[in-house]
Symmetry: C2
Subunit: 360 residues, 2 copies
């Protein structure tokens, strides 16, 4: 089959990890007789450098024309990057938020699981790790505080800033359905996280999620307050299957969860809309401190490419081949620096890509 894929190399370690993922996709083409037409799209810092703004109409149009987009990481180091001198709407992240909104990518899937091979990298005590854990965080991505009205005003010489957190029932319903759909293919449990003891938006969230739950009698729903969830992720991560939550809570909890696994360099993500289209990117950031040094772990991006094969191109077998190759290389003891442990073989970004490629 033929597909059109957008590639966003991104900032920091972005280019080098996307390069390895592309190597893997080329191998998949060769082995399974597909043709991928790649187009490079600019976003974030790279777009600022070339076009002066973090997101252009051209990037949006070309992304829309593609079957899916694979992306590296966006943004720079707040302390040293020249981008951070720009006003907020011109900074790299503005491009990321802009493309999410322009393509209506409301469903952000972030798997967080413990690789048994990488137990040693997990920051938790081994009896808390137990048999391991495997969660899917379903974060709403185009609403809430991220996209509500905001302004900074002056009242009698005193500055006041205002951000608005708002959701309507349709926005909640569509993300809730996505959460329950995924749970149905997993362990059939949804933990909906909110702050319903304080926020109106959380009370609406809770009530709509309950309505949706009635459509899925085979899936168990539980509600959890966000502060409690932040505790439970540390104390008992094994209890979670699907965590369903709004944009800001999802931002915080998904990062916490990915750090709890100890394998943030391994975790992929997908941002989906109502169609098959998706934007796929690693869960980690752009790590400008190690950019260009062949040190970055390309696995999160490679696994994001596997998610893309599965969710946007319906190439399940190919996706599984990539995931199996990753597992094989790990079980053979190859590690990049971030997941290195005693007795393993340290490899660089490129060599990790080559090893995975040759196991497909």
């Amino acid at each position: 089959m033929e597909y059109r894929l957008g590639l966003i190399y991104g900032d920091g370690i972005g280019p080098e990890i996307v390069r390895e993922a592309k190597k893997i996709l080329d191998k998949v083409c060769e082995k399974y007789h597909h043709t991928f037409h790649y187009e490079e799209l600019l976003l974030g810092g790279a777009s600022i450098d070339v076009c002066g703004v973090p997101l252009t109409e051209e990037t949006i149009e070309r992304a829309k024309a593609a079957d899916a987009v694979l992306m590296g990481s966006i943004g720079g180091d707040a302390a040293t990057s020249p981008w951070y001198k720009l006003e907020p709407s011109k900074r790299p992240e503005a491009g990321l938020l802009g493309i999410r909104k322009a393509l209506n990518l409301f469903a952000n899937l972030r798997p967080a699981y413990l690789y048994q091979e990488l137990r040693a990298a997990c920051p938790l005590r081994s009896d808390i790790i137990g048999d391991g854990f495997d969660m899917m965080i379903m974060r709403e991505l185009t609403g809430g505080l991220y996209f509500g009205e905001r302004k900074t005003v002056e009242e009698n010489g005193i500055r006041r800033a205002i951000d608005t957190l708002t959701y309507d029932e349709n926005e909640i319903r569509r993300i809730a359905r996505r959460g329950f759909d995924i749970a149905r293919k997993r362990r059939k449990k949804v933990t909906s996280v909110d702050k319903a003891n304080v926020l109106d938006s959380s009370r609406l969230w809770r009530s709509v999620v309950e309505d949706v739950a009635a459509e899925y009698p085979d899936v168990t729903l539980e509600h959890m307050l966000v502060d409690n969830c932040a505790m439970q992720l540390v104390m008992n991560p094994g209890q979670f299957d699907v965590i369903l939550t709004e944009n800001m809570f999802g931002d915080i909890l998904s990062d916490e969860a990915s750090m709890v696994t100890g394998s943030i360099g391994m975790l992929s993500s997908a941002s989906l809309n109502e169609t098959k289209f998706g934007l796929y990117e690693p869960s980690h950031g752009s790590a400008p401190d190690i950019a260009g040094q062949d040190k970055a772990n390309p696995i999160a991006t490679i696994l994001s490419a596997a998610m893309m094969l599965r969710y946007s191109l319906d190439l399940d077998e190919e996706a599984k081949a990539v995931e199996d190759a990753v597992k094989k290389v790990l079980s053979e003891g190859y590690r990049t620096g971030d997941i290195m442990s005693e007795g393993c073989t340290l490899v660089g970004t490129r060599q990790m890509g080559d090893l995975i490629c040759s196991r497909i």
Copy 2:
């Protein structure tokens, strides 16, 4: 000296832990020749049961007349408590939010530290614990999403809920100064946590915190994004001294931090206004599942009483005597169930109180 103290017994395990803390305060009176006049105030579920509402004018007036208030935990079990059938503004937490606002308790101090005696209870790997950690979270408590305008409306038959996150520069300045004041007495480092890459309120927060930092040249300031902070608390909690943040982020991060210590049953908190007055309460919840069983750990409440002696009554020596007594009992190997480990002696709520009392 003579002091007027308010006691709020609270819900769930609240009454039994406050009873132990009062025992300790009585011992302090006896030994140091003070007189404490206690007044019981109703708040939360207990107030709903007696007065039909979670907070009355009488409670507010009597709290205002006191030098300080010591409180147990508020609220019930969402699944089984009859309070949860009430509309949100009538539920126990509404009383807690109401009293914070009525008494202008904008500065919420939550220490999170690892007790060396309780290393075994810490969920983190021992090399991550390292020499331990000792943070103070300074959470803004009367602004942000908690107290912004909120409403639920219907537009063309579609429900929409709106919460507002707002801060003005004065609100930010006063909490920032409190954070820097505390840092000055500690390790002189403030980590200000925000989401300045997205929120206007965070950008104002950051700029005001920087202005305040200029008044404290001896204290180091760093900024951290909230998602990153949620990760760093798990991966490297030892890096933090004072964490300064707004209300909702503080709610989430302080609970995460207290769970990371493994000793949530040990952690006190203080909510202060511009005067010496403070409301002191344990960081943990009301644990209705073990209420009335003599199983609850009273130490967080006892240490909250110690904070009250120090911050509101200026009784430093007395505060230290209580803290030392707690340390002594722990080093002698006495433990309640939540912090029990091999080779230690299991004791109940009352016995723990008696043991601490007798070491003062």
